[in-house]
């Protein structure tokens, strides 16, 4: 339960961090909050030869709104996301999801960029990023590029992030008029990773669905955005029957997997229940009349 030996680097600028990553490639691992990487190192599931600490990098801990998007630096911590007035008002799904990550002490350290780069299939922030179609900005010495969350996540704990790249910022769309959003998850013990989690965001105009965004985490190797189902919902009346239809539709659409502890059937049933709850809560927050 002790990590294997490594060399420690503590760059103070982004350029210096990217130079270290370029130099050491796969032998290096960047550490931000360390709330996922450090346990993996203690359990020797990760044994980086070079550890590059991002803790001193300045300017990656900002949170601001620009051009209808909320731009968040990669080093913003979960507790900042959960408590941000800007997010609660303009991107409440993200704040609500962050509030449920791990435990209080974990949220003080864990970062947005770290959670996305780690890409645990059951984690909250990747699901929110995929559901809302967040744009993830990556930097390396070769330059910068922006990927959509759907492009970024490849498989279980696997992303498009190259060995010499860092996430620097993530842009989430701001809430639209008449839009409400909610996050629901189920786990056996408070603070554990979710067995299934659901993110829902629905915009209602004049008593009709204008746009639906629906994502499910924990059932497939990466968070899934049910865009085919969601795209067909414009113009529908968002009543209880519609919520039930969406819940059943989501449950049928996900390709749940069996594992040694949890059956695919159970994951499907959780998906149905959680979609119904999240969507009902989102509708309420959208201001739509029931």
């Amino acid at each position: 339960m002790k990590p294997s030996a490594f060399s420690y680097h503590r760059p103070v600028t982004l350029d210096a961090a990217l130079a270290l990553l370029a130099e050491h490639g796969d032998a290096a691992k960047a550490i931000a909050g360390g709330q996922s990487l450090a346990p993996m190192m203690n359990l020797r599931l990760a044994q980086p030869a070079e550890l590059i600490d991002l803790g001193d990098l300045l300017g990656l801990d900002q949170l601001r709104e620009s051009d209808g998007a909320i731009e968040i630096g990669a080093l913003v911590r979960h507790q900042q996301l959960a408590e941000s007035e800007l997010l609660r008002e303009r991107c409440p799904l993200l704040a609500e999801a962050a509030q449920g990550i791990g435990h209080y002490a974990i949220r003080q350290r864990g970062t947005l960029g770290g959670s996305l780069a780690h890409a645990d299939p059951a984690a909250q922030l990747p699901l929110v990023a995929v559901t809302l179609g967040a744009q993830i900005e990556l930097a390396s010495r070769r330059g910068r590029r922006v990927l959509s969350a759907a492009e970024f996540f490849v498989s279980v704990m696997t992303t498009e992030l190259a060995a010499d790249e860092l996430i620097v910022a993530v842009r989430f769309p701001a809430l639209l008029p008449g839009e409400g959003a909610a996050f629901r998850l189920f786990n056996r013990r408070h603070g554990d990773f979710a067995i299934v989690s659901v993110a829902a965001s629905v915009q209602v105009n004049g008593g009709r669905v204008a746009r639906l965004r629906l994502g499910v985490g924990g059932v497939e190797p990466v968070p899934v955005h049910l865009d085919e189902l969601a795209a067909r919902q414009a113009g529908r009346t968002p009543d209880a029957a519609w919520v039930a239809e969406m819940a059943a539709g989501a449950s049928a659409a996900v390709e749940a997997e069996n594992d040694e502890r949890i059956t695919a059937l159970y994951r499907r049933e959780l998906t149905e229940s959680l979609v119904a709850r999240a969507l009902a809560a989102a509708l309420k927050l959208s201001g739509a009349k029931p």
Partner: protein, 163 residues
């Protein structure tokens, strides 16, 4: 992977120690700084026993490498009682039988010293939400919740009881 000399700022004191980069803060505190009040349980961030404050924020010492902590202010359980006098929270844990074997207690005290300073009037649900990050195998938690509620009330000093 040689040992390197670092200076840790703990409880208002400087500690000059030599550690390998892989040394966890929890081990550096106990073995190199001889501050054994911080307890080590699971060593992968689950149990909360090793929680200390880094720049005032509760932090798992077992998920932090000592070398990362240069330039940061660390507070451990040793700094909580002043002049031998228990803090309000410690006193309340004592009165409400909020501990039995005491192994988890330092982590709980550090977590809630920080939490209560920012959230002076938590509901029981909020207390339980935060307490979920600290495993206790003795008490069953009820007495810990009662102690935290009592400490919060005393710290507010307004006699108001949270719903």
């Amino acid at each position: 992977m040689d040992r390197q000399a670092i200076r840790l700022h703990i409880n208002g004191r400087d500690f000059d120690i030599e550690v390998a980069p892989r040394k966890l803060l929890s081990d550096a505190l106990r073995e190199d700084c001889r501050l054994t009040g911080t307890h080590v349980g699971c060593e992968h961030g689950v149990c909360g026993a090793c929680t200390v404050l880094v720049d005032g924020r509760p932090t798992r010492a077992c998920l932090t490498f000592a070398v990362q902590m240069e330039g940061h202010q660390i507070t451990t359980i040793e700094a909580v009682a002043e002049g031998g006098e228990l803090s309000q929270l410690q006193q309340a844990l004592h009165e409400e039988h909020g501990l039995q074997c005491g192994f988890c207690t330092p982590g709980i005290v550090m977590t809630f010293e920080a939490y209560l300073s920012e959230h002076p009037d938590p509901s029981d649900d909020e207390i339980r939400d935060v307490l979920s990050g600290n495993l206790c195998r003795c008490t069953g938690y009820h007495n810990i919740v009662a102690a935290i509620r009592k400490a919060a009330k005393r710290m507010r000093g307004d006699g108001h009881v949270a719903a």
